[in-house]
């Protein structure tokens, strides 16, 4: 099995379309998915790098696994459903805490999925009242605007105590996508891939991560001291 060079994790409430997004990107099509159990991952060959993308389970039951999946992640995609305000709020309430284990220079992307189900933004602004009263269209006005995502992004930066100048601009990191139509999906993933490549290069330059420590050389000393004492 090829060793991944870097990890990207998809987080978000259940049923916002994390699996579908990943599926759309990897398999180039949209299909109904069942609720993800535990998690799954794909290995994506991007130029000469192997990028592992973890799809996590949104269900509350598996919430505890999130921290482990995020550990050492180079980028985290926080996903919400543009038609459910709650799913955006959940990101801050439940999921942001999970990202504490990610690497310190972790990138964050905020993705509003399922834009195919709502009306265009401009239309939305002009005639939101009309649309809601008439109910002719099956499409509903978007509940979450891009500005809300941008606001969340800035909150995250505060939470992480990051300076806006040191990280990519909010406008670059907030996406609206549709896994169903494929809208913006490639753009999302490929933007992130391009951003993590420098991380990979930095990691390579620094050598293997210091967390794995067999400590072969410390043990004999310990044994001796134990013996003499």
């Amino acid at each position: 099995m090829k060793k991944p060079d870097v990890k990207i994790v998809l987080l978000g409430d259940m049923n916002v379309g994390k699996t579908s997004l990943l599926h759309r990107y990897m398999e180039r099509r949209f299909q109904d998915t069942v609720s993800t159990v535990g998690g799954a991952f794909y290995l994506k060959q991007w130029r000469s790098y192997n990028i592992s993308i973890w799809d996590t389970a949104g269900r509350e039951q598996f919430h505890g696994l999130g921290s482990m999946y995020c550990r050492g992640a180079a980028a985290i995609i926080l996903t919400y459903d543009v038609n459910h305000l709650q799913s955006l709020l959940e990101l801050e309430d439940r999921f942001l805490g999970l990202t504490d284990t990610a690497s310190t220079d972790c990138l964050f992307a905020i993705v509003g999925n399922k834009v195919d189900l709502s009306e265009d933004q401009e239309k939305d602004e002009v005639s939101s009242e009309q649309a809601s009263s008439s109910c002719v269209s099956t499409k509903v006005p978007k509940q979450v605007k891009l500005e809300d995502a941008v606001a969340l992004y800035k909150k995250i930066l505060k939470y992480k105590m990051l300076d806006e100048k040191d990280v990519p601009a909010a406008e670059k990191m907030c996406f609206e996508t549709s896994a169903k139509t494929g809208y913006n999906v490639d753009h999302l993933f490929e933007t992130l891939f391009d951003m993590v490549v420098p991380v990979i290069l930095r990691q390579r330059a620094e050598g293997p991560p210091q967390t794995v420590d067999i400590s072969d050389y410390k043990q004999p000393k310990q044994a001796k001291s134990g013996c003499c004492a």
């Binding site: 991944p4 998690g39 598996f62 050492g72 400590s215």
Partner: protein, 858 residues
Amino acid sequence: MSIKAFTLVSAVERELLMGDKDRINIECVECCGKNLYVGTNDCFVYHFLLEEKSLPTGTATFTATKQLHRHLGFKKPVSELRAASALNRLLVLCDNSITLVNMKNLEPIPTGARIKGAVTFALNENPVSGDPFCVEVCIISVKRRTIQMFMVYEDRVQIVKEVSTPEQPFAVAVDGHFLCLALTTQYIILNYNTGLSQDLFPYCSEEKRPIVKRIGRQEFLLAGPGGLGMFATVAGISQRAPVHWSENVIGAAICFPYVIALDDEFITVHSMLDQQQKQTLPFKEGHILQDFEGRVVVATSKGVYILVPLPLEKQIQDLLASHRVEEALVLAKGARRNIPKEKFQVMYRRILQQAGFIQFAQLQFLEAKELFRSGQLDVRELISLYPFLLPTSSSFTRSHPPLHEYADLNQLTQGDQEKMAQCKRFLMSYLNEVRGTDGPNGYKEDIDTALLKLYAETNQDSLLDLLVTENFCLLTDSAAWLEKHKKYFALGLLYHYNNQDAAALQLWVNIVNGDIHDSTRSDLYEYVVDFLTYCLDQELVWKYADWVLQKSEEVGVQVFTKRPVDEQQNSFNTDDVINCLKKYPKALVSYLEHLVIDRRLQKEAYHTHLALLYLEEVLQQRPSANGKGAEAATTQAKLRSLLQKSDLYRVHLLIDKIQGTGLHMESAILHGKLEEHDKALHILVHELKDFSAAKDYCLWSSEGRDHPYRQRLFHMLLTIYLSAGPSDCELVVATVDLLNHHATEFDAAQVLQLLPDTWSVQLLCPFLMGAMRHSIHTKRMTQVALGLAKSENVIYRCDKMKLKGNSVWLSDKKLCQMCQNPFCEPVFVRYPNGGLVHTHCAASRHTNPNSPSPGNRT
């Protein structure tokens, strides 16, 4: 999708253990090599020897023979057993105490060394001490929230470390310095050396029994929420996606590449490679599932069973048989590290090939091609699927066991013509690609022959490309096939490639003659001519020369005229060719033109012959001159040009021939060749009355000669003009024209003598002016030259004066500049720079260029 990865076989029957005593239950098992140990609730340890036998069907059976059993002297059940084969010790946990007993006779060791206060324990399979006669044991202590590490030797134990945990631990596994612990509310990784810990994920160990299982270097398998089997490394990272078990899983084991889990009713098998569930075996009341060095043991409270893995190859074959290519390849790739490299490569290649054929049969050609390529398929395997494509002489036999189930393409496509065509197209493109690589060494014949057959059958133009480039098509096989498909032109190419030009030509000639039909080339005749032109076999050229010339003299003659020059010179005798061409006058003319004009052969016979042929033609064409005026004119022009430019033909012969034919111009040229300019000009002026031709004659006849020669010609012409007398008005005009336009060609003084006095100055004005100008110009030029010569003379005289002007003193003090000796005689040489030398030194200086130069002598 299921697969049969394991079979469940019984190892220890209930009777062997407890007979009919119902109360006795199995508490734990240990398996070490052939030794199987069983611990019971009545504090007995049983030792069995396991004998593995393979049945002819390929499955294994186990028979256990009881060696002995021993009561440990407690009233508590034996809760855990671990063998330490290097120490020949069995570690037995009973009544919270780990005792060491001899592996062979189960006797407690004499020293009575033991670890007290252990709830459960684990061996470090990745020990840190490096001492082979020492086992590292980690226990969960009866003390709350305490873990202890021990070193266990043959007859003593030693505590190494005690660490306390934030919560009560329930299960432990060890790898190096890392402990993987199931605590009350979560799993953690704890480095007992540094004390650093890493949270993994929350899990409520009190509600559900945790599982902590070391599966390899620095990686553990843990029971997670919702029946997940979670993988975690010591770094706290998950590198594999979780497997999905049932909620009530009791135990887990690893048998690469499978994760096996046990619950109340089933044994489930998941692949670590794709996380899919692969097999489910019903197994009721199981309560122990463990793997021991690759052997997976399950037990109920009454019997012990072994899960025998089917050989990976068999599993893969099963997958392939059900056309599950992806899974088979994943499994095969996953098996890489468990199989010796050499063996693996052979196996893997074969699997790739088989997978390729499966894709091929589903017409998934892209995938098939990739698999064939990476599996380094002997292309003949593929070719042999297509009936009749392999040459009859091919020694190929399909590999055994077969790579696929198909007899041939007909069976595979079930006669569907469209599919058949697709398969053929695929094979063509595939073979074409394979040809370009180094791969097919040794069976290029088979490939090229097959390709030729496919091309012929499907009417591909590539057939011709194949045959005209380097190829290895087998002659007999290919020839028969091409004939069958009426590809006669291609057949000819094949013969040619195989150095059978005669056969090739015969075929092509037959096609051109219409004896056999093949419309590949509409210009086949030209092709044959071209072919013969470059054919090195003279006999063949002679053989078909008549045929090509009969078809077309002009084109046919190219066989001789267009041959590469270097080859022509030393092989074809020109006289033979001329002899051959006698029957074909046009061809003969072309050939002679080729010899005389293109190759510039300086041989009188050719020049004369050609001239005569031209002449003949001109004479022939003249009677019917009206019809083909243009043609006649070109021939005549050619004749004239030849007569003018060549000096080799026999002039007298031609003059004889031309006499009385009225070809004045030609006879004028001929006379000119004989230096009979008088006659020639006479003809031009009087017979032909072509004055400009007469003037041109003067010009070209004198080309390359000196001025007086030309002047003589012009004067000759002038004389002829004037001799006719002033009555001939035409000639007068011609005379005036000649003089006025070519004033410089004449000697004006002579001309004036000749001219009639009556002619006005006005008339001859341009001539006179030209002559005057010329004369004055000449005079002035002469004066300039004279002046220059005079002044040059003056310069020389001046120099001479200067040199002579001063006297030279020669005394005995002066030394010769060259030999540095004094002068003994009054004779010396003086250089223009004043240097004096001996005469003999000056002489030797000229013979010896190396001697120092005193300056140039003037």
